[in-house]
Symmetry: C2
Subunit: 305 residues, 2 copies
Amino acid sequence: MLSLHQLTVFLAVYEQGSLTRAAEELGYAQPSVSEQIRGLERTLGVTLFRRVGRGVVPTTVADTLRPHAERTLAAAEETRLAAQRVKRFETGTIRFGMFGVARLYAGAGLVADVLARHPGVRVELVGQNSSEVAEDLRRGRLEAAMIAMPSVESEGMQVTPVARDEIVYISADPETLSSPITAKKLAQASLVMPETTWRSTDSVRTLLRQMLHETGVNPATRIEVEDVEIAVELVGLGLADSVIPRGAAVQLLPRLAPNAGWVSMKPKLYDMFAVVHRAGATLSPAAQLMIELATKRIQSIATPM
Amino acid sequence: MLSLHQLTVFLAVYEQGSLTRAAEELGYAQPSVSEQIRGLERTLGVTLFRRVGRGVVPTTVADTLRPHAERTLAAAEETRLAAQRVKRFETGTIRFGMFGVARLYAGAGLVADVLARHPGVRVELVGQNSSEVAEDLRRGRLEAAMIAMPSVESEGMQVTPVARDEIVYISADPETLSSPITAKKLAQASLVMPETTWRSTDSVRTLLRQMLHETGVNPATRIEVEDVEIAVELVGLGLADSVIPRGAAVQLLPRLAPNAGWVSMKPKLYDMFAVVHRAGATLSPAAQLMIELATKRIQSIATPM
DNA sequence: CGAATCTATAGGCTCAGCCTTGAGATCGCA
DNA sequence: TGCGATCTCAAGGCTGAGCCTATAGATTCG
């Protein structure tokens, strides 16, 4: 079997024209070098050096093989270097899970943070919905993720809360916003709920259901959409009200529904942000970096825990 | 230390997504594959696969490293193939020593023979004079050579005669050619001697000296030139006569001195062609090929021995 | 919830690969 | 010509890499 070691020794002998000098250069004893060359000659089935009195002389076969050996060793070295560069975040890909409204808190800004520190890396923020992220984590395609309160059953998953954010009621009607929203008011409301929020915030969904159930009314969502942005736009158009995390409201209302505002619920509800990864896993430096930066960014908007 | 074996196993695992399946593909037991991957991860200092329940999943580091690993293995394979091609004479360089008048007998035609059999190879016929060829053989730069009777001291050299050729006297004067040249006639002649012939044909030189000495005359060479071609041309111009091997005369006279002819010496003298290489060396297939072809070609002109 | 599947670990074996020592060959110089 | 220096090769011993079998632990699937 051909080996990089054999090629290294071959080149050393070729350049030195002597087994002894090659051995010195490589830090080996001379017989070891001799054995390597013999082994290479045997595996290739050719004679590489003519043993002639004092020293050895490369054959024309050795001349032919030399550039190939050099290319092979260069490629191997390049492989090694690539690993080192990835280790130092000079290159490579960092993949991180993030779904639900979490991306509103730490999406583009998080990517910017990573690129500011490590200009060479590729960043992938993956995850459309909770089940996809949960699946990716379970299957190992994702090492870690930042999510807005997992409906992910924590089967074998380690969930670490990092911040919480109030759930608020948003509306384009100033009258509605004049006082906190009680269960009774909520039951009478006409709501648009984004799928992402709805699905990702288990506690909120449960609490909302509870509040609605108390009034004897079934799901009051008049409209269901995929993106929270669309929900906010619809609120801005006065077609419905909605319930979203405060950070999302602060960030989206001015841009998508400048005429709308937000008010607390009564009692107050909270959404939760958490880091999640497989229980018992040792996190890679890349994952640790992403967790650190995402946590920092989310905690600057929501309330640290 | 990085090894090709590790990279091979790495790619197998990457493609199969499973240590067990990779082990089957490679014909190993599963723990061996596990050990190789662990070794590679240790030498590179990175995590390549996330062990997750059933099977393993490549990390982004593995994604980055894969093309490098593939390139490295491809280069190694190319090295191996290059050796095989050289072995089969599909490519590579064949170097063969040949000096003196031998090239007139087997020069261009010999190259043609080699290329006809092995179109891919490079052919080098090296050697200007006997001492250079002798030195190259001694130093190992040349594996074997076909020479016209060595002044090479056969110190550690194995010399195998393959043919002999008569030494003839050439002249542009028909009168001179009417009968064999005796020592007496030779002493009176005005000669042009080519360095190559002069130096390479030890026996001839000795015999000529002897013949001349018997008549009490010192070296009768009026002109000394480097190439036998020039000597023949001078003979054609009628400026001097010369003494060269018969084969050379047959080949060169019609072309360079059509008005000249040749006649035997009396007693007859013979030049010798021989294969020479280091004593005790096992000849490479390339050298054996050259010896075979060169011998065949020379023997078709000169007298086999 | 049990069977199947997969990885990790432990223990044992063989051989590659390194070392040291010494023999054999060659070269350079007195 | 002979002797010392230099170099390769051969032999023997040692360590560790690498492979195996058997088994435990974890996860998935029916």
